[in-house]
Symmetry: D2
Subunit: 225 residues, 4 copies
């Protein structure tokens, strides 16, 4: 399945509800939702689940992080070639739970481009989004850290943050696709995010901890049309 917009990108983090076989199950649900709605649902599982999930489903898979290392040394590092070989088509970078040095972001992005891995840089505010845009990633997801995991959607409570961020990104680098993160948990939140100029959402617990993830994802995909 192609990585298209509007995009619903689900970060599985380290939730036990979305690990191992449960990640595979969630991927199959995501696949169904995409088939039924035509809206792209992508997943970012843990590193150790990438190959398993990518082998069992056709949804686009993101790594949660990559390092700027080249093959060889780098014990414990995430090599871009390895995540591509395991089946990923993209990666998050600089998530608020895995913040990176500015020069490391630039170097990791350059490595990712070498292997045609799409990159979504996460940013915590408008200024950081502008800096990220200057680096030329494929996506930027703005997520005010204080809203992550709260279920309080930035698209509703701080719409001006989203609008200003989208504008900053477009001024600096109009090919970068803005996503809206932090607190997204319903189809309405997704619709609000798209109205503010973003082309998708990055979310986590809203789906991973849902009793019925398919219902939530269908609601989101329907509102994204």
């Amino acid at each position: 399945m192609d990585l298209t917009t509007p995009l619903i990108l689900v970060n599985l983090k380290t939730y036990s509800e979305s690990m191992g076989e449960k990640a595979v199950k969630l991927a199959k649900i995501a696949e169904e939702v995409t088939r039924e709605t035509g809206i792209c649902v992508a997943l970012a599982p843990q590193f150790s689940d990438i190959h398993r999930v990518a082998s069992a489903s056709e949804v686009p898979i993101f790594a949660q992080h990559v390092d700027p290392v080249t093959p060889g040394r780098g014990t414990g590092s995430i090599l871009v070639e390895a995540v591509v070989e395991a089946g990923a088509v993209g990666t998050l970078l600089n998530h608020s739970e895995r913040q990176l040095g500015l020069a490391l972001i630039e170097a990791s992005l350059a490595r990712a481009k070498e292997v045609e891995l799409k990159v979504c840089i996460c940013s915590n505010n408008q200024a950081v989004s502008g800096a990220a845009a200057a680096l030329g990633p494929d996506f930027i997801a703005v997520e005010p850290p204080e809203l992550i995991g709260t279920g309080i959607p930035v698209s509703k409570t701080q719409p001006e943050v989203v609008t200003a961020t989208v504008e900053t990104i477009q001024n600096i680098n109009p090919v970068v696709i803005p996503l809206c993160g932090a607190g997204i948990s319903t189809g309405e939140d997704v619709a609000a995010a798209l109205k503010l100029g973003t082309q998708g959402v990055l979310l986590a617990s809203g789906v991973t901890k849902a009793k019925d993830p398919k219902k939530i994802l269908l609601d989101m995909a329907t509102h994204a049309k």
Copy 2:
């Protein structure tokens, strides 16, 4: 296969020669060597290869690193439950290419114990080995960083470093198993390491970049008897 001593622990790092299907192939070779010699050969592949390698072979698998996070948040982190679920029985910690804060090592070790994941703390010298021993890991691998990847075995060029480290570890915590790292590339190096009081070796390029890994591993296992 059980994790026994003397132990030959092969760190696959991010070598392209030991990634993906090549990691699986190497695991099968390791399995053969263990069957033929009775000496335990364990592998530490990249995170994204753990499940694939563990599914395809019976050799003990180590992660290259884990984080002290609990399930939930921690995007891009290595959860101990995830590496266990993928099939690992142990993990490296504090490799010289992935150095960790003292308190993080202690916390990661505590997390690993919760899920019965064996831990090999890597240390760069005698003093650090003593500190690591006080934390109570299963293994400590001493690797003078300047020798890593050189093919110059610490067991031959700095035998006194190995001897002193083994003694320090035993004084502080006699149940910890000392391993010898850095520059190990032949059966003779392994024999020298064991004579100095270690109970195994941690190595990487000596096997991963070898033209005939089976020949090298057989040589090492034979010398470890």
Copy 3:
């Protein structure tokens, strides 16, 4: 004034109440308390205040941190020679607000010894204290992070943590001097800490934010006799 035990070591952190001229004033108060009671009160001001405070008073001065760099490169790093030249006689290392890699602690300690700078490693629990003891610093201050800044003294609420830590330190390295940190704010807290086998206290807000620091310090010093 000599650095003696029992020791009252006051970490000025980045409190505005103990910065610049206010740090000098506090040092003069500490000096008076030492003269009047014979108990050593030492201060750990911000780096930019070390020279000023050391020039204006005779109390022993600690840096709050040092890096393992040697003279030369290392922009923004804290060189041990620089803090000694500015007038410090000791340094904190690995404070919970400035945690360090295990190998960096060992390397920084080695650098400090080269210039005869006393080192107090901060630790968050018993296990980490044991590891720190193996490295051979002059002091170890145990501070459960959850109590730092609370005014809830570890010596009262978790006396068993302090006792066990003192024992661990003595078993591994009996020349290391244990200090008690976290939540110390009264003379009684100091007395309790000493009864548990420590030879002094590391504290911060209890003094820096006190209305009458001299009164508090006198109370502490009196209880330390």
Copy 4:
């Protein structure tokens, strides 16, 4: 003395040749050069030397780094209020020897603006310079890390890097002042840097390790006119 352009900004790093009283002496030399030529020479001494140097001379003083902490906790951190109180008017940020997370750079810059501390973000290449420009610092110094400390001036060997970086900065944020770093050691290097569109230089060993720093600084200042 005012902080004006063209600017010669000398990073004293942790060189023993420019520490303590030697930093004061260098500041007096810088002061003389400014008086004689009208060209601003600013110094970035070690933290523990800021107050001493600022008290003894009138040259603009930069810190080598600041942290985004607010007054209070933050043991071992560099508080912007503290460096201002000690006499600094500016700070380096993200030097290649002290690289910072993207979000930390943005937060530190915001803190610096609160206390009117000028900020010079260091960058290692054109892309990172663009990202830095989006954050809105006062200065950006581009320094290819492989040339730092070599005496091989980027302005001569990679003039196209400097030109492209200046252009990128101006496109994204024209009020940011570009400086040229890495390998600057003569007046000619300074002249070359200014011709390429920068408004000054950031250098270190070229002055700190010079036998006759005044002669070098005079040569640089003369070529900067």
